[in-house]
Subunit: 146 residues, 2 copies
DNA sequence: TTTATGTAGTTGCATAAACAACTATATGCC
DNA sequence: GGCATATAGTTGTTTATGCAACTACATAAA
């Protein structure tokens, strides 16, 4: 049995995602401390729009690993915050294209800085090689389950 | 700068906990398929009670990395499901001791089996050595941020 | 062209998390 | 004893997730 060593005591913390929960909490806290009034979930949507503005909600679902209702509501909230706008597609009237507002564009630099800093806090004392292997494992887990 | 390699493209998926989200979803799905009608969060509370029945809510907070309101409501829901009972402590009247019901005790074996199986699905193709390093990294991340 | 089927997005409902404010009880110090 | 402070737990509010059911539009086949 290959991964037997995982099946007892450490099963729990791996399953519950202790580490990623801790990262999420710290990132949220760091956003707040930096005066950034967005949730990490909202940030994760903005992150993809900064890479490519004008994505459909479905593309945002794929990019952020969320289902359609989640994206509907995240976009609702981002619209209320005036950070994005829904624009009906002319080619396909089912589609909403989501565009960043100027306010959202201003958030990019600072929030990415905070995210980078958070990751540095998280990975303090971890070597490059260890990080590479951890990335591979997490990627394989994702591929196995997606 | 030590962990520079993380700071660009893969920052996102590490922060968002893609892998642990995927594990959580799969575990929930596997519970459902096995006829187990509990959430993974409820399971995480039961998990600790199976190890030691009769914990206070505060101890459950510490064990599950949740805050007090979260545990209050998880215990509320577990009580509704008749899986646990609150029993006021005689020594300290502020404290609720949480005890498993017989129904909850019956869930242990099957749910642990499902959890083990889920972890095997997640780690398919990952070597023992890789898993060990990933565990170390996740543990260090947790220690850095807790 | 009509019908079936698929895709994009929304809404309703239950569960959960984070944070702040609160009540009740315990403890330690004067 | 009486007061300040700490601890255990609860409640309210906002945000988010997962699932199912739904509407609207698009596409492909008959």
């Amino acid at each position: 049995m290959p991964n037997n060593q995982f099946r007892k005591s450490e099963l729990y913390s791996f399953i519950t995602g202790k580490a990623s929960t801790a990262i999420a909490r710290r990132l949220q806290k760091n956003f707040k401390q930096a005066g950034l009034d967005i949730t990490i979930e909202q940030w994760s949507v903005l992150y993809h729009l900064w890479k490519e503005d004008g994505m459909s909600q479905q593309l945002l679902c794929d990019a952020t690993f969320r289902d359609k209702p989640s994206i509907t509501r995240l976009v609702d909230n981002l619209e209320k915050l005036k950070l994005v706008k829904r624009v009906a597609s002319k080619d396909d009237r089912r589609i909403n294209m989501i565009y960043l507002t100027p306010e959202a564009q201003e958030l990019q630099e600072k929030s990415m800085e905070v995210a980078n800093q958070t990751l540095n806090e998280a990975l303090e004392g971890v070597t490059h090689g260890q990080v590479e292997i951890a990335k591979e494992v997490l990627q394989m887990v994702y591929e196995n389950l997606k």
